[in-house]
Assembly symmetry: C2
Homo-oligomer: 336 residues x 2
Amino acid sequence: MRYEDAPVKNAGGGDLPALGIDIGGTKVAGGVVAPDGTILDTARRATPSRSVEATEDAIAAVVEELAERHGGPLVGVGVGAAGWFDRTGDTVLFSPHLAWRNQALRKELGDRLQRPMWVGNDADAAAWAEYRYGAARGSDLALVITLGTGIGGGIVLDGRLQRGAHGVAGEWGHMRVVPDGRLCACGNRGCWEQYASGTALGQTGREVALSSPAAAADLLDRVGGNPDLITGEVVATAAQAGDPLANELLCDVGAWLGQGIADLAAVLDPEVVVIGGGVSVLGEMVLTPARERLERALPGRGFRPGPRVLAAQLGAQAGLVGAANLVRRAVCEGEA
Amino acid sequence: MRYEDAPVKNAGGGDLPALGIDIGGTKVAGGVVAPDGTILDTARRATPSRSVEATEDAIAAVVEELAERHGGPLVGVGVGAAGWFDRTGDTVLFSPHLAWRNQALRKELGDRLQRPMWVGNDADAAAWAEYRYGAARGSDLALVITLGTGIGGGIVLDGRLQRGAHGVAGEWGHMRVVPDGRLCACGNRGCWEQYASGTALGQTGREVALSSPAAAADLLDRVGGNPDLITGEVVATAAQAGDPLANELLCDVGAWLGQGIADLAAVLDPEVVVIGGGVSVLGEMVLTPARERLERALPGRGFRPGPRVLAAQLGAQAGLVGAANLVRRAVCEGEA
C-alpha cells in the first residue's frame, strides 16, 4: 500500500503542523512543518556533542522555542540524528558525532517533552522526505543516497522505509569497494564513503597537491600553499570556478558514486536513486560522471533497465521535513 | 503479511500437488511436489541450450512424463531458470546458458502446456523454498545466496520475494569487489562471483598450480599434471581428502563469501543469510571461514547484531520445490 492510499486511522491532528528536528555533528536544526511539507518556522542551536544531557537540552530548547512561537497545537516531534537506531526506532545504538550509546532516546525525549515522538536515522528521515515530497515521489523502490562528509542512505519500498532486521539497513557507505583501501572511521579499509564523499574529495585533493604541486597550483593558492588545508569544500569551490584539476577530482568522486550505484543496482534493482546531502549541491558536476559510470558498469546492461539517477529536491531541509512527516504518520496512521 | 497467515483466496487446489521445474545449463529437472514440500516423483532431460524450441520441448517432455505418471489433477507448473526475468515474471530478458532473449516464456509455456504457470529466476525459486520449508523459515528478512559456478541470490522480505523494480534484484554476484579484478562473463571486472564460487576455486587452484607447482603437487596429481584441468570440483575433492593447500584455497573462497555478506549486511541488514548451491555441500569448510570474515568485516560490529549465516537445507532440489510452491501460491492465493 502506498502512503497516499493509506487510510487515516485517526484523523485527529491531520491538518496540524508537526515539529521536525535534524541533529548533525555541529547543529540542531528544527522546523515547524505543515502537512504538505511546507516549513513554517525554523530554529537552531549548536550541538554540544560530548554530553548526552547537553545534546538533549539543545533539542528541548529548539522544540520549546518553536512551540512557543507557533502557539497552537502540534502533532508531535520527529527527530532524525546521525546514528544507528534499533529496529523499533526507540533506541539509538551508536552515534558517530554524539555521546549516545544504547540510549533509549524516544522514551527519554518523550518523557521530557511530553509530546508524541518519532526518532530515527537522519538519512532515513531525508529519504522519506524525498519519497513523500521530492525526487522519489511515486516510486515503488527508491534509494536515497546522502553524500556529505560520509555516505548515508535510506530505502523506500512499496511506500515504507525499510530499516532492515536490526534497524541499520542503508549503511552502504561501508560497503568495501577497494580491498586494503583507504582507512575508514568505522575501522575497516576501503569503504565506499572513502572514495565518494566530501571527505574523499578533500583527501584526493591533498594527495594530488603533495604529489603534483604544479598541477594543483589553483588549489594550493586557495589554502595559502598548505596542502593539509585542502578540504572537499575547497576542491568543490575551485571546480565551480573552473579549475580543470578540481573538476577532474570531482569527476573521480562522481565515477565512484556511479560504480557504487551499479553495485546497489545488482543487489536491489531500484527504480530511482536520489542523490542528496551536502555534496549534491554540485549537481551535474557530480551526477553526470556518476551516470556515465553507471551506464558502463551496470551488470546486465543492454538486457535490463537501470535506475534513474536524480538530484534530491529538498536540500538541507530534507531531514527535518522527513522527521516531521514520520511523526505525523506514527500519530495519525499508527505506522511505526 | 506472512505466507503462513495469508488467507487462501481460492481453496481449490490447496491439497493437490504442483509441478516444479528447474532448468540449469545442462539439465531440465522436474518434480511432483506436495503442498508440504515433499517430492513425490522426479524426471529429467538434458538441456538443449542453443535453441529456444528445443529447450521448451525438453520442458514439455518433463511435464508430460510427470503428469502422466501422476495421473491426477495438478495445481500448475512452476519453472525456475537461470536468467533474468522482467518484473511481472512473464518474460525472460536474458539467460546466460540458454537461447532466451526477451522471450514471453510464461505465455508460450502456458499456451503449450495448457496449465497455470509460474516462471522466474532459479535462485529466486530456491530462496523461496528455503524460506517456505528450509533454513530461512520464519525469517522476516532473509537473503539466500546460491554458490555454484557463479553466485545467484534471492531476497525474502516480510513473506514476499523481492524482485526489484525491473525484476533483477539479488544479482549480487556482480557487485564489484576488486577494481580492475578478474574478468567476469558479464563483461565487467572484479565481480564478487569471480572470487567466491566454484569457478573462483578452480581459477585460484590453476593460478597456484602454475606459480607454485610443488605446493600444488596433490592437486596436480589429480589432473595428470595438467594445471589447466584443475576445476573447483578438483580442489573441493582434494580439500575433503585433507590436502592443506586445497583447504587453504577453500578458506580463501569462504573469506570472500564472508566479505560479501558483510557488504550485503551494510546495504540490507538481513536477519539470516542462507548459503545454498553446489559449493555449499562443502558445509563448514566454507561457512566457518565465511563467518570468521563476516565477524571481522561487519560495519558497526560491536554496536549492532549481524546476520546469522546458515547452510541451506533443501540442497539441489530447492529450485524445483520453490517453483512448485510459487505456482501454488499464484493459483491458490492470487500472489504474483
